[in-house]
């Protein structure tokens, strides 16, 4: 297009440097997790021993993270999709205020939200020590992403007209929502679902304060291994975490591409 030669060269150089900065450490981490002795280097040979050790030490955190992520997703879907529909239909003051409010837990540091939860709900018996306490925090943090993704789909499909047509034919509100809105908003809901899973599996800022020794999630275990385990074990654990993320991210990219083929396939929906 308009780019001059120097412009292109500079752009390429910076792009490659940034890519190296972002991916280099990931490669190091993967190698460290598979090397017998990272201090000696690759010449010490490759091994799966560290992965096995991670599994025996931390398997419970991995299963727990899956459980938390799925529970979070279930609540986000049940609560978020109807909210998205309300926000699509009504553009009044109240609706916009609700939308702004719901994004607050993303804008405000997780540490503050977690402290608030502990102060108000930490004394409720049976809640503080269960994974539901973590799920509540994750729902607050991920709900805006489900709402946003679902709403984007609903707005694109001109559902308002379809909804009115069905209403004149006598379909009830719930019928219309389940049979017209939800199927048409499916791509957005799936994008939202993958985003929610990705965020929940990696959430640390809230979880670190909300967890108890019996409810450690994967990122909590990661922090624990970074502080107390040898570098190889910490790396192997990180590798397991990355492997869990890959299918989710591939799914998100694929959806973004099939949605808007010509655009940059960014997951702009993903925040901190």
């Amino acid at each position: 297009m308009n780019a001059s030669k120097t412009d292109t060269r500079l752009g390429l150089a910076v792009t490659l440097a940034v890519a190296a900065f972002l991916i280099g450490p990931v490669v190091l981490s993967v190698l460290a997790g598979l090397t017998k002795n990272y201090f000696v280097g690759l010449s010490s040979g490759l091994t799966l021993r560290w992965i096995e050790q991670v599994w025996s030490l931390y398997a419970d955190t991995i299963w727990r993270s899956f459980a938390v992520a799925l529970l979070t997703l279930a609540i986000c879907t049940l609560v978020g999709v109807p909210t998205a529909w309300v926000l699509t239909l009504y553009r009044g003051r109240l609706a916009r205020a609700l939308e702004e409010l719901l994004t607050l837990p993303v804008a405000v540091p997780g540490l503050a939200s977690a402290l608030a939860l502990i102060v108000s709900w930490g004394t409720v018996r049976g809640l503080r020590g269960s994974i539901w306490f973590i799920v509540i925090g994750h729902v607050l943090f991920t709900l805006p992403f489900m709402v946003r993704a679902a709403r984007a789909s609903m707005q694109g499909a001109d559902l308002g007209t379809l909804d009115e047509a069905a209403a004149t034919l006598g379909a009830s509100r719930t019928q219309r929502f389940l049979q017209i809105v939800v199927p048409n908003a499916a791509p957005g809901i799936v994008t939202g679902a993958l985003t929610v899973l990705t965020l929940s599996i990696g959430e640390f800022n809230l979880t670190w304060l909300l967890h108890t020794p019996l409810t450690k999630t994967l990122p909590v275990g990661l922090a624990d291994s970074y502080a107390s385990m040898r570098l190889e074990v910490a790396s192997a654990y990180t590798l397991v975490f990355l492997l869990m993320l890959v299918p989710l991210l591939v799914g998100l990219q694929w959806l973004a591409r099939s949605d808007r083929p010509a655009r940059v396939p960014t997951n702009r929906t993903l925040p901190s």
């Binding site: 280099g24 922090a223 990180t238």
Partner: protein
């Protein structure tokens, strides 16, 4: 409207009311004064706040400076071999939580890191800077880059090439075209991405927590007040201050970017 009732209830019960409770705890009188007053009068907390703001600001500026050429490059070259792979590599770290970013910085610049090994081999003295402000700066940069690149590339794609073409026929130099045509068009994206990067850096806890629990930034200070000193009023007051500051930055940037967008249309 009743379809939104569950979300509103959840939000009210588990966020808004608890937050209000936290704000009230910060106002409780302890040692003769409210925790807000303690927070506002002790130099220790001001230093912590200053460190957080300065570091977040520096990381944000560096992120924008690097994201701008990358975003423009990606927007202008939409079809070359390996582009998809490059995009995936640039976007993969989006999903990393702060703790993992901290660990990656340790692999880069920590005791057994590449930078240390290389500098030891070159000069005999290993350079290790992961466990302090330098490492935290690098961590925030790592965290913000993928986010900002995505936003800026998307905005750069929207620039109408005929505008640049027109500027060229009118004799504008590449530099003038960049400053007078591209930058104003990218301003809302730059403001938005910058605000997002600043806000996440202000509240980033995981990265600092992995690198060193001694770094004097606000999230770590809050955590220490809460767990090590059990000083809940001060932790609450600091959280409210941090939350308000972060939200205010996002809010101002949001309206600024909106105003720019309005002026451009």
């Amino acid at each position: 409207m009743w379809f939104a009732a569950p979300a509103a209830t959840l939000f009210l019960a588990f966020w808004l009311l608890p937050m209000a409770g936290l704000a009230l705890i910060g106002a409780e009188i302890k040692d003769g004064q409210s925790a807000y007053l303690t927070v506002l009068t002790r130099s220790q907390y001001w230093i912590s706040l200053f460190n957080t703001v300065a570091l977040s600001l520096a990381a944000t500026l560096a992120t924008l400076l690097l994201s701008l050429p990358v975003g423009r490059f990606l927007a202008w070259h939409r079809d070359f071999p390996g582009r998809r792979l490059l995009m995936s590599l640039l976007m993969f770290p989006l999903a990393f939580p702060g703790v993992v970013v901290g660990f990656l910085i340790i692999l880069l610049a920590g005791r057994q890191g590449v930078v240390g090994t290389l500098t030891k081999w070159l000069t005999g003295d290993p350079i290790v800077f992961a466990y302090g402000m330098g490492g935290l700066f690098l961590g925030y940069l790592y965290f913000s880059l993928p986010r900002c690149i995505g936003v800026i590339a998307a905005a750069a794609e929207q620039i109408d090439p005929s505008l640049l073409e027109a500027a060229r026929t009118l004799g504008a130099s590449p530099w003038r075209r960049f400053v007078d045509v591209e930058l104003p068009a990218l301003a809302p994206a730059l403001i938005g991405a910058g605000a997002m990067s600043f806000a996440t850096s202000m509240g980033a806890f995981g990265t600092a927590f992995t690198l060193a629990t001694q770094i004097d930034v606000l999230p770590i200070t809050i955590y220490n007040e809460f767990t090590n000193y059990a000083n809940i009023p001060v932790a609450a007051a600091l959280s409210i201050v941090l939350g308000l500051a972060t939200w205010a930055v996002l809010y101002v940037a949001h309206s600024l970017a909106g105003a720019r967008l309005g002026a451009a249309a």
